[in-house]
Amino acid sequence: MIEGPSWAQLDFAAKTTPEKIRLELMRGVTLYEKFSDLIETALNYSIGEMVKAKNIINPASQKKDRMDEDQLTLTLSGPLKGMGFDISHSTNVGGNCDIVVEGGSEMIWIGEAKIYSDYGKLMGGFQQLCDRYSSGMPNQNRCGMLIYFFAGQVAHVMEEWRKYVGDAREHLTSIDVAGNTLQFRTSEPHGATQVALNVLHMAVPLMHEPTDVAAPPKRGAA
């Protein structure tokens, strides 16, 4: 008799997204597509957790108390470490890449993170990601562009960013992410290897400007 849980018991015990991902990694992930899909699922979970904590990350009207880019990226990465990914921050992969997740068999997923201020700054980050950090090797050709927003209009900005990046890079194509207007994917041949470089652009909406804290307007004030 084998001591320990059955396959079904392990499935039953894994109820949350982090538990489900950890179970997948415990069972063994050897395919790059699956590895990358799991990272994207994990990041979506982590983004959700950050958005829940936006009042702490971005206290209302307290610009000085906001997290900076590194703090945001560490907060985003933390849950992935707990899920069993080998994730690091500012690791040298063609330069100091913001997020690096390494798997077996030389699998690498990289991410660039930027606080949104204008499209030019986002473009700088995207160029670093695609043209500096990415090796363009198979098993290393999926990446993420994480965009933190302290202000609103996120869907509109993501739509405009999609047009901007599409206009700026000749061979780039973009596609929707089903059911999520705050994300899209781009693909283009890597400059060095011509292997398709696939980037998931992910918004992290952190605007926190509650309207219930302001004093109500006085009626009939004369």
């Binding site: 001591e3 320990g4 990694l25 707990g82 069993g84 077996g104």
Partner: protein, 97 residues
């Protein structure tokens, strides 16, 4: 061969403990130092260790085809148990680096 029972004896951690799961996840999927295998405990025949193709088929289907009889085993996942084997070659390569 390492079972979750062995992990509990060695590390004092149950299978649902996060730290143990993290360690196993890293050793399996990052460093390939451990590999998960499956054994089906058949009520009639006793333990049947799944071959790699049988294991892969089970993982993809989520249902077990009896390795000897070729028929679907109802609730087979309740009688299929994971265990781990060390991958010495991987460990030797890591040590040699």
């Amino acid at each position: 061969m390492l079972t979750f029972g062995d992990f509990k004896r060695i590390a004092g951690a149950d299978y649902d403990q996060e730290e143990l799961q993290r360690a196993i996840a890293i050793l399996v999927s990052r460093f390939h130092a451990l590999e998960m295998r499956l054994v089906f405990i058949d009520n009639d025949e006793g333990p049947i260790y799944l071959k790699p193709d049988e294991q892969q088929d089970f993982i993809e289907r989520g249902q077990l085809i009896h390795p000897h009889r070729g028929v679907l085993v109802e609730g087979g996942e309740k009688n299929t148990f994971p265990y781990y084997i060390a991958r010495p070659q991987t460990l030797l390569e890591e040590v040699a680096e």
